[in-house]
């Protein structure tokens, strides 16, 4: 802890306010859901799908394809999640199974 308590509180407040701003801004700009411009309504319809794609990439952003293990544990585990989910269609099973496999891979095989 190198900041004083007051300084730390100011930093925490700044991060808190910044986070709330990014979450609340669309609701502040378009308070009345019946008066939202059609273009924004359109974005609201399609962005959930694009946002999940963005989140998948965001989770994998620090994987390096150019150095060992070349993203192999992530690729194997993601393919396993996809295959298991298409086969059994059970979200918890797919998420749990994929995570256990990934942990095994990075702790033993690719250690």
């Amino acid at each position: 802890m190198i900041l004083s308590a007051q300084q730390a509180l100011v930093i925490i407040a700044a991060v808190c306010i910044g986070t709330i701003l990014t979450r609340a801004l669309p609701f502040i700009l378009f308070p009345d859901q019946n008066a939202t411009p059609p273009y924004i309504v359109y974005l609201g319809k399609v962005l959930p799908f694009a946002a999940i794609g963005l989140l998948v990439i965001y989770c994998l952003r620090n994987v390096s394809l150019l150095s060992a293990p070349y993203g192999l544990p992530e690729a194997i585990a993601v393919l396993f999640v996809i295959a298991l989910h298409l086969w059994k269609n059970n979200s918890l099973l797919s998420i749990g199974g994929g995570t256990v496999l990934y942990m095994l891979l990075v702790q033993t095989v690719f250690n």
Binding site: V10, Q33, L54, C59, A77, V81
Partner: protein, 232 residues
């Protein structure tokens, strides 16, 4: 059964993957804060009022370098800019939530958004209470994980390496579920492909904002074609 209890029971199963992820990530955050000399009350305070996973890890750096609140605010806006997408997506769903709306907006972290944007509550369950409880449970897991890490982090010997993959798996599963629910796959493909392109060009630190801009531009250009096929 009261509507509240019914909504809580319906909400809980959707939060189980997030329970696992948040307990461990919150735990890691509590340990990290401890190691930098910030005691449990600091980490718990941050998880309560900031409640933004990756940003809190960045905030640890802000708390251990030169005091610069404006810089902290700007970094937060850049890192959390992706929440703008979530807000635009949830304008309609959160619209009639009344007094619950401010809390739903405050608690709109990646994981909660990903579940709520892709899930309709079961028939007979009040949707606002359902969304409220998914949000509240996730928030509780995050604070509880943080507290456990801050108080007991030093005692753990179990190897948790790789546990954060639970979030990746959650988003992959939601991606598949959304894919199966739609005829029109362009928005999902655009999100995936354009983010990947921007990651390759701008690198892991700076790709989010270019990716967001590019996604909005491309989805706007093809609006006429895409708008026909999307069903909610």
């Amino acid at each position: 059964m009261s509507p509240k209890l019914r909504a809580l029971k319906a909400a809980f199963p959707y939060t189980i993957p997030i329970w696992a992820g948040f307990i461990f990530l919150g735990f890691a955050f509590g340990i990290l804060m401890n190691s930098k000399g910030y005691s449990a009350q600091w980490s718990i305070l941050m998880s309560l009022i900031i409640y933004a996973g990756s940003m809190q890890f960045v905030a640890v750096n802000l708390l251990t370098s030169v005091f610069n609140p404006l810089n902290a605010l700007l970094i937060t806006l850049v890192i959390n800019a992706r929440h703008l997408f979530y807000g635009v997506s949830m304008l309609e769903k959160y619209g009639g939530a009344g007094w619950k709306k401010p809390y739903l907006i405050f608690g709109m972290v990646d994981e909660t958004f990903s579940v709520l944007c892709s899930t309709e509550p079961p028939p007979g369950v009040d949707k606002y209470w359902f969304m409220f409880f998914v949000t509240l449970l996730d928030h509780i897991y995050w604070v509880a994980g943080t507290a456990l890490g801050a108080f007991f982090g030093a005692m753990v010997s179990f190897d948790t390496k790789g546990i954060d993959f639970v979030m990746t798996a959650l988003f992959v599963v939601i991606f598949i579920n959304q894919w199966k629910s739609q005829q029109q796959h362009s928005p999902a493909l655009a999100g995936l492909a354009l983010s990947l392109v921007c990651l390759l060009i701008f690198g892991p630190q700076g790709f989010i904002i270019p990716a967001m801009l590019l996604i909005v531009v491309v989805l706007s250009i093809f609006r006429k074609r895409i708008d026909k096929g999307v069903e909610i």
